[in-house]
Structure formats: C-alpha cells, structure tokens
Symmetry: D3
Subunit: 133 residues, 6 copies
C-alpha cells in the first residue's frame, strides 16, 4: 500500500457542552495542524499516488472554509461539540466529497482510503481514517 | 476508525543481557517519550473517543510507577531485557488493566484497540499495538 | 552562558482589530506551545541553572491564568491586540513578576535573562527576550 | 504487533516527466528523511523485534547506494519517475532483498511486514508498506 | 527584543567543487526548510513586529526564484559553492533587498535584524544572522 | 554571523545528590539529543563555516566517550551532579579541546563561538554557549 501526505493548518474558536470537558466548556480556541494521507495499492502511470499539488490545493480550500471562525456560530455544526476527533471526521468528509465530485481530476479515482490527523498541541492529536465509498 | 493520542515521558536506567546488545550491555539509560493512541469506531454522545483529560491522567500514573528508576532492580522485570519494544508492551498492558478495572469511567468501554509508541531518540522508536479483548 | 528550557501549552480564543489582520479580525483561536528559557552565567552549587521542577510549576500556573479563555473578554488585555508577540511579552512579564516576588525560591535570583517563545503553528512562532532588571 | 523504527537520510537530484509535475519537471532535488519500521507479532528470546544496530547499518548501506546522486542518470531508474512514493517502494525492496539474503542474520526471519516513509519536507511525506512474503 | 518567524521550503539540485565536500562533489540535491526570523525592540501600534501575512508572501516569492532549479546553472551563483550557509546568506540578502525597496510596506522599517535558518535534514542546519543596514 | 549545526545523541544512567532533585536522586537515565552549533563571521574560500563531515565525526567521537555509561561511576565526574546543563558545558569543553588540538584541521581555526544544546525530552532542554578563547 502506498501513501502520500500533505500538511496545512487552521485556527478556530469554540466551546464544548458537557461536564466531561471541564474548563474547555468556556470559549477558547485551537490551532489544528492537519495531515491528510491518501492511500492506494498501485501507482498510476506517472509513478504517483495522486497529484500532490492538487491535494495541497484541495486541503487549502477545505481549511479556508473553517479558518478564522468561531465554530460555535457555524450553522453546519449546530448542536455538536466540535472536538478534535469530530473535526478530523468532518474534514475527511469534506475532502471525500470533493474527490467524489471530480474536483481533483480523474487520477483521484484510484484513492482507496484516507487518514486525517489533527494535531492540537505538542502532546495531543486525534484522527479519523476510513476506506472511501 | 477514530483515534485520540496523548503524550508524556519518563526517564530510566537499565542494562541488557545478550551479545546482540553490544555496548548497551553496560548500565545506561533512556528518556522515553510515550504516545498512547486510543481507537474506536464511533464517537460517544459527547462527540469524543474518550475523556482525553482522564487519558492523560492515567498515562501520568502509569509512567510514575516507572519514572526515575533503575529497571534492573525492578522485581516485575526480573530476568527480562527491558528493551524499548518490551516496555511499549508493558505500558500497553498497564493501561489496559486500568481500563478494564473501570478506573477510567464507563466511557472507556468503547475503546477497541490501542497503540503505544516509545520514542527513544530522534532516530529510533518502538511500538506495540493490539485490539482490546 | 547556560540555559534551561521548559515547554507547556495553552489554548485561547481572541480576535484582532486593524486592517492588517485581514480574516484574523474575526473571532478565532490558537494553541500556543510555550518555551521558556532561563539563562545565567554560572551554575549554582547543585550544578543547575535553576530548579527545573519549580520552573515547570511556575509556567503551569502562569498559563492556567490564560488557558481556556476568550482573551477579548480579559480585563487585563482591554484595548490591546493579543498577538503572538504581545502574548510572548505578557508571559515573560508574568514569570518575571513571580521570580521577583521570590515565589521560586532564592536560587532564582541568579537568573540573568529569559526568552519566551510561542509556537502558534508548524510554520510560525513569535518570541520576546530580555535581561531581567 | 510490535514495531521498531530506525531513521536516516539521503540527498539526491532528479527531474520528472509529465505535465502533472509542473515546475518539478525541471532538474531539482530533495533531502529524504527515511523511516523504516519493522513489524512482528512476538519478540525473540532477547526481547527484541530485531537487532536495531544491524537495522541501522543495513539502512545506511541501502541509502549509500542512492546518496549524492543524480537519479536521472541511474541505470536502475531509466524511464521511471523517481517520485517520493516510488522511492519509498524502491527502498522497501532493497531492504527486503537484504533481509531475504540473510545479510541481517537469522533473527530477521521473524519480520512479518515493513513500512518505509520518506519525508521530503516539513509538510509532505510518502510511504510504502507491505507484508514480507 | 521581539521576534516573529515564518517557515517555508524549497527543493534544488547542485554540486560542490573542493575536496572537502567528498561525495557531495557529485550532482545531488536538497530540500531546504527555511525559517526567517524578524526582530525589533518594540511593537508597532497594532501590537505586531511586522505583518506576518506579508512576511510569508515575501518568503514565498523569494523561494519561488530558487525552487525547482539546478543551482549549478544559475547565473547569479556562477563560480560559487551553493552550500547551506551560503544560501542562508543569499536568502537573507534577497529578503533585505525587498524590505529596503519598500515592497513590504512602511511597517517593515522597524525591523532591526533578521536570522535565516536553512534546515537540510533532521540532523543538520545552517544559519545567517545580521543587523539590517 | 554564520552558523552550522550537527545533531547526534547518547544514552546514559546517573543519579543526583541534593534535595532539589526530588525523585531524580534515584538512579535513572536519559537520552540526550545533542545539537552543536559552530559560528563564524565569514565563510572560508570553499563557501563553508567548517567541514560539516568532520564536525559530525568529532561529535560522534566525543559522544562515544559518554554513551552507554553510568556517569555516577565515571572518574571525571566524581563529586559532580551530571545535570543536563553541566553536560552541555562538558561536551562544549570536549569539542573545544579537540578544535584547539588541531584534530579538525586548519579550517577550524576560524570558529569564533559554539553553542551546545542537550534535549532531554520533548519538553526540556539545556544549553551552554561561549566564545572560543
């Protein structure tokens, strides 16, 4: 199995509901450094998993929709705790939707699975991984 | 599959028996930077894999039992080489036992597998991963 | 010149005023990974710059006053942009005040200068450094 | 499953053919920081996955065959794009061949799979992983 | 003294002349991860050292002039060894020239010194630092 | 001012005397990842600060004298606490002595100062820096 990974980041404000969160129930924020790993069993005829330039561009676009926002006011997250693991899945879904819509060209059809990791500090990260389709 | 990871470290002395270890047969030591990754297929009703605060607290307690010790004198390791890979498994088992004993609350029952990584330098690490019974 | 450094982190929400900040004028947030470096010309009789355990404890206390807060609502920052470089200086001043008040014991009197670095992502950081008094 | 990982690096020049590569069609180069992870289900009688000293030595030898070269002139890569993912596989195969030839001693026969990661910058890496026949 | 730092990278091919370089006399290449630190004694009225967005943009432009090139064929480097330390100075000069030309706006006039670090692997880096003017 | 830096590591056991050290008074150990930075004002005729290959070789030799040892039994450290900051100075002196003895060739005579950093974990490091003579 081959993988390629591209990294970027975004910065948001949010708060959580639930006693389990302790002081994180207050309005606070985070920098999330995001790794997106694309996997497939065989390389294409150019010797690549996927056009890494396009992969970086797609990640930039996906994160631009989240960057510099207060997620508590984002309609798409109403009633949800935007925890690190929840956001890892949300970003996975946003990228998968763009892959499915053909926004990344025909080469992307070979991608079999993805893993999205959100690093929230030097001591904590969360991830979501899944086959595609 | 979702993951959350928490990091901490401990510092020990030890020596190894066996020609394969060369100069590491002498008394020496290591800083181990430890990553513990908890995995489950679905988030709970709070939108988390697990209470990351408790996860950090459990790791601190497990490492406190090992930190600032000469492992050659630890009764529980008598007759064993406390290599990096051996210690990764040992820490896995210590955390799994605390999970099983309910020390981490009912939420922990959803954890399906764990991966423990011990970084021993900027160029070497070892890991142990397994499903949780 | 000797240095010792201790690292910790905190997570806040804030927004900036001024066209120069572009989209960062919106409510957003950051994880700041903080390095505090203490410097002195000679080691004390124990062979240390400073009690690193106490240094870590002081940093934890200073960051606890900022962690999980919306800095836009913090009275001490009223009318100020809490940029990364501004916060590096603010944390420097908070630690220096505790050093000066003797909260860190007599050994701290030998500290000659400090450098505080705030990492806000994998590609950006800011710092403030100064002699003490 | 146990893992041990060893890291080293090499520096090469190359160029790519294909519109997908944009400016990387020009002669350029890269530093590749290489992680090789060896995996097996059980530790041997010494308490290790594998002699990590030998693992480091084998990696050094494999990378010495590639280091400080223009890969466009390497006969073994004629007609191929030496992308990061392609090179991850190539290094996997070179190490596997040495394992198979017994160059690493009898202990290596327990290795079940490997993962080779090539970090090409602070924001991009590629990998190849596979069971060993 | 305040600092802000921005990071980016570029990838080049080159070779060196001189026995001291050993196998690096052959055509090879490198990924350089570049840190540019801007320093000034006081913050401006917005609470910043410098518009970090513009700083990142300037670095991107400077590195675009070098990226994906064979430096042995670059007229501006004819007869020079483009070592890591040499390139750190070259990038320093390119950024300083843009600062001097006012390309970064009036705020940049407060910058007193800069430090440019080029990381060439996980074990080696070189730097050039100097006051401006 | 130009700098070049080379990194390596060593692993030792030791214990400390003095109440300030708390549990570190027990026999324990550490991995130290060592950075040695060499500084000079001008490059030599080859365009370098110093032969980085020789610099790496000298560091390897210096660390080989310390690696895989119990420092409590090292005659040269009798009666001393081998703290991280103490060891940073000790390694500085060992390298400076080799520079002074001409072991690194005539090019080393241009080195004006050095900085030695010992990383003991992901959250703590210590350093010693000084002009050379």
């Amino acid at each position: 199995m081959y993988s390629v990974n591209t990294r970027d980041h975004f910065m948001i404000a949010h708060s959580f509901r639930g006693d389990v969160f302790g002081p994180a129930q207050r309005m606070h924020g985070a920098t999330y450094v995001v790794d997106v790993e694309y996997r497939r069993a065989a390389l294409d005829e150019d010797g690549i998993v996927f056009d890494i330039g396009r992969a970086g561009e797609v990640l930039r676009r996906v994160l631009a929709d989240l960057n510099f926002r207060n997620l508590d006011e984002a309609p798409e997250f109403a009633g949800r705790n935007t925890t690190t693991e929840f956001l890892a899945r949300d970003i996975f879904d946003r990228i998968a939707a763009r892959l499915g819509a053909g926004e990344l060209g025909p080469g992307a059809s070979g991608i079999e699975s993805m893993r999205v990791v959100l690093h929230e500090s030097h001591v904590a990260w969360a991830a979501y991984e899944s086959p595609l389709r």
